[in-house]
Chain length 349, copies 2
Amino acid sequence: MEFGLNFFPDVGPDEKSAQDYWTEALHLTGLCDDLGFSHVRTVEHYFHRYGGYSPNPLLYLAAASQRTKKARLITGALLPVFNNPLKMAAEIAEVDAMSGGRLEVGFARAFLPQEFRRMHVSLDESRARFDEGIEMVRRLLTEEHLTMAGQFRSFEDVTSLPRPVQLPHPPFWIAASSTDESFINAGRLGYGLMTFTRGDAQVKRWLQLYRDAWREAGHPGQGRVMISFHMYCAATDDSAHADARSHVEGYLQSIVDANSDWASTSSKDYPNHPKMIAAMKSVTYDSVVAGGGAWVGSPATIRKQIERYQEAVGGFEIASLQVNSHTCAVDKAEASMRRFAAEVMPHFR
Amino acid sequence: MEFGLNFFPDVGPDEKSAQDYWTEALHLTGLCDDLGFSHVRTVEHYFHRYGGYSPNPLLYLAAASQRTKKARLITGALLPVFNNPLKMAAEIAEVDAMSGGRLEVGFARAFLPQEFRRMHVSLDESRARFDEGIEMVRRLLTEEHLTMAGQFRSFEDVTSLPRPVQLPHPPFWIAASSTDESFINAGRLGYGLMTFTRGDAQVKRWLQLYRDAWREAGHPGQGRVMISFHMYCAATDDSAHADARSHVEGYLQSIVDANSDWASTSSKDYPNHPKMIAAMKSVTYDSVVAGGGAWVGSPATIRKQIERYQEAVGGFEIASLQVNSHTCAVDKAEASMRRFAAEVMPHFR
């Protein structure tokens, strides 16, 4: 099992400046290789403290490529719906080049009504734009003199530059959150699966759907599953909770705020979101910890949390850890990472 | 007078891989602060070896921010015509944050017919999209809860994130190439001016138009002018020319190839381009050196080339140097930079 770092900025200018946020993230990223974390990941969001400091994950990964030598650099995730595939393919290949072939590319459909509204894109075109965008990027990375006519974009005789280092293209991931179709689709396409914690039985079922689709499509192995967690490791459970509680709560509040439009929004492309988002309001720090979404405690406690979660969902390959949620101080995050690397990670090699 | 580094990739996969190109550029960038070069700059182009390894200059500048501590990081230039201003503003502010407020933003209109054709944008909309894009980016960086309705883009109630480190926004530059209007416009707006070498009298006249417009608009000082040059410094003139000739020629050939569509293209927004591009075909290595566009020779020779050029165009503030054109080997580029820094730069402090 691998453990990586997921930098999800969940602060606004009144909480922590972008300069402080990214300077701290780069410092923690610089520890990544030595401590044995296997990836660095960040997000694409806009206009809101929930992710809005990272409008293009490739920018941070380009910077992170110069603070690491081994870590995989992962978009978690790019949003084809808000991007021109001609630009996405070229930017992906450039970061693949600058990192010496360490880029991996997660794609997501986006889900915040305010982003669609401000970008002037219909929520009801989400799935179609997502499918078309990924396929255009894949073909731009793998083919030359390419002509494609899509529903939303078209181009003629394009050889995208740069050509990628990793052939046929950097590994792709699909972020799936709430419909069987999304999990099955990721497996069928042979891409990695990014998701997050919910009811264990539900996640276990989705991972099974993904792996079944993977095998049925004839791909070798069982695919790769990456799940996001908060992580805060301290000497004792009490001191860990005392430090982590307000930061995880800050993150949870930023999600609820960012999704508030769903109370008055519906879309055929997001049949489960109004319900799912309504349920988020009842999520608390204690329920996240109890449900396995936040690994918080002493090393011994976190080891048990990981083992329980692995068992509950039927195993997964990669944990992507938010180690500096909300206004967590960078020295606290560093101490937590060091303790986790020394006393937790060795048990899962 | 300041000297900086302009990384303009002018190679395709058959000449140098993007991984090699960017690895070498990052190595040279890492020398920048110690040697006293004041900026790192790169370009935005697509689909062709003339610049196509750099589809988003902010990606390289993000990486370069981690190899430098003092250098200014300059887009030379972003192309509003191919970008969503909502994304541009946010990405600018993120790199401003990651670099601790060292970003400067050059904008250009783009001018390659193949880029417009493949991006499905009309050449005849070039100026209007450029003007609208810059103004939207400027206001997104400086205002909150912004609503704008443009000819090409509109948005409502947007507070762009992150907020920039440099207030009111990172310094702006305008790349001007061939019309009086472009030079006057840059001065009137109070932005820096990026240009390149042509006939000395023509450039001198344009710089005067820029500075006159700058003063007439009431801006303090006389503005800032940045001019691009090739630079290759060796122990003797002969050895410098022996090394530099083929690399500058490779660059010149890539320009001619990239612009070949102008032979069969006309656009109201580019009245002078067909003629200007036709003239480029007669440009040779020797004519570029004689005209001051390539500083090549011993330190003593280059000092004279710089003094002559300063005199001929009426002075300018910043030279942006292409030190690794075409397939120039990185160790040769490094030796040239070191010699230039030691034996040329001190004479212009």
